[in-house]
Symmetry: C2
Subunit: 273 residues, 2 copies
């Protein structure tokens, strides 16, 4: 079965394999695109990771993750910016096409989400020169509103695009269907994102009913209620015809053999996406 | 301590007390406003519930809940509309100031959220004449996007107000901070809701970090990250100066003595709201 157009976010098999094992498994399954996480790269070593990726002919559709800009004080925010610049360096070293930003939520003790959002915009802005210098664009990933407090205070595509508009070049967005499928403005904002050439990645999985855990109960494509094929059509109509990247954080799927997970990703991708 | 301006949604003490016990407890604590749920009224009997409420001088700031309009077929949708008309009759019998609508999510087996949203608008429209006849307005409660699939496909204040605009009179909205606090458009949509005279109720509780359960881990005011006082100021600036209604669905608070819960509601209301 062809895996053309399919990328695997390596969080999907993080409990089964290290980076080398995951890359080799992808190649076995005919998958030639991945998105690794920083901790996976750190564990393998940056140079060794880059060599594994290169030797296996992998395209790197993104690097997870930068972000977490808000902090209670200026030194914390400066440290976050420095950390993001290092993440950009790593992304460049492994040839990643963007740095995925989970922007961060409220600083400890804060109830001021507007201030947190400003810290996010300022933090991204402070990384743009470095992003341009290393040739890796910053990809804001709006996260589901259930993560607004503790993971990402950017929660809709429209809001992410407003930040892009305010900042200018070297910044774009990730469309992850899990986070955005419910948004009544999703369709019009996808069109806007395409018009503005801001779409850097398209992540897929599914929303299960019931969802038993806020973080680790994402579904395999086809097991939930998201109309993946319609969203893909909207994104393609907006001009993005790049890869779809499977990202499933799931204690359920993490318990299964990695080869079974990859086979399911390919099969469901062909059937539902 | 004064409980002026404070209403208790009786779901907050549903595990501790029946309707009679809850009403008597509210009176003991100086609370003169409640919002009962249909199952609580059904268990006590409608007439007896109405008498308890009247004899204890309770103002009924809402009745929970109507809604759940989407269904796979026309007969299911017609049954939902009939059920909502009965709920309106009950609301009128107990003197409720609005019928709170949890509008419903996707019909079984559906991935078409746009169609579900149309079913919601159609269902509410079909209840408007009855609402006017019994003198109880329909109050659309936008629910947090994490409930879009299974409880309510209306997920932002702007979306609820768009439905109001399309339908006309006898329909308004509930602003529940738990569901809406994260919305980047919250402030502007509160102003719009006020301008349009659509605000029928203001529900409060708090968003905990971490939130351990999608449904039953709401926080007591002050224990989370919502800036309740700022939101209240926005709502009052929009022209709504009615009660704030505490609605806490929480296995934690349900384990505590009801009197402790009511005392905490009053204290936190004074301190944080």
């Amino acid at each position: 079965m062809s895996a053309k157009g399919l990328s695997i976010n390596l969080a999907t098999v993080r409990e089964q394999w290290n980076l080398r094992e995951a890359v080799e498994a992808c190649r076995r399954h005919g998958i030639s695109m991945i998105d690794p996480w920083r901790d996976q790269v750190a564990k393998m070593g940056l140079e060794e990771s880059a060599r594994i990726i290169r030797d296996n002919g992998m395209r790197v559709t993104g690097y997870c993750r930068g972000g977490f800009f808000p902090a209670p004080d200026a030194s914390g925010r400066a440290a976050a910016i420095d950390g993001n610049k290092r993440a950009l360096d790593e992304a460049a070293a492994i040839g990643a096409e963007c740095l995925v930003l989970v922007v961060g939520g409220l600083p400890q003790g804060s109830r001021d989400i507007a201030a947190a959002r400003q810290m996010v915009a300022d933090g991204i802005d402070a990384c743009r020169d470095h992003a341009r210098a290393v040739g890796v664009p910053l990809a804001i990933e709006p996260l589901h509103p259930m993560y607004a407090a503790d993971r990402a205070c950017v929660n809709t595509l429209g809001q992410a695009l407003d930040i892009c508009d305010a900042l200018g070049p070297d910044v774009g967005i990730v469309i992850d269907v899990y986070h955005l499928w419910w948004d009544p403005d999703f369709e019009s904002q996808i069109a806007r994102a395409g018009r503005d050439k801001r779409i850097l990645a398209h992540h897929i999985c599914d929303w299960l009913v019931p969802t038993k855990d806020l973080l680790l109960d994402r579904g395999m494509m086809g097991d939930g209620v998201i109309d993946l094929r319609q969203i893909r059509a909207l994104i393609e109509a907006a001009g993005y015809t790049g890869p779809q990247e499977v990202e499933i954080l799931s204690t359920d799927w993490w318990k299964r053999p990695g080869d079974e997970v990859l086979a399911a990703c390919i099969e469901r991708f062909r059937e539902y996406c």
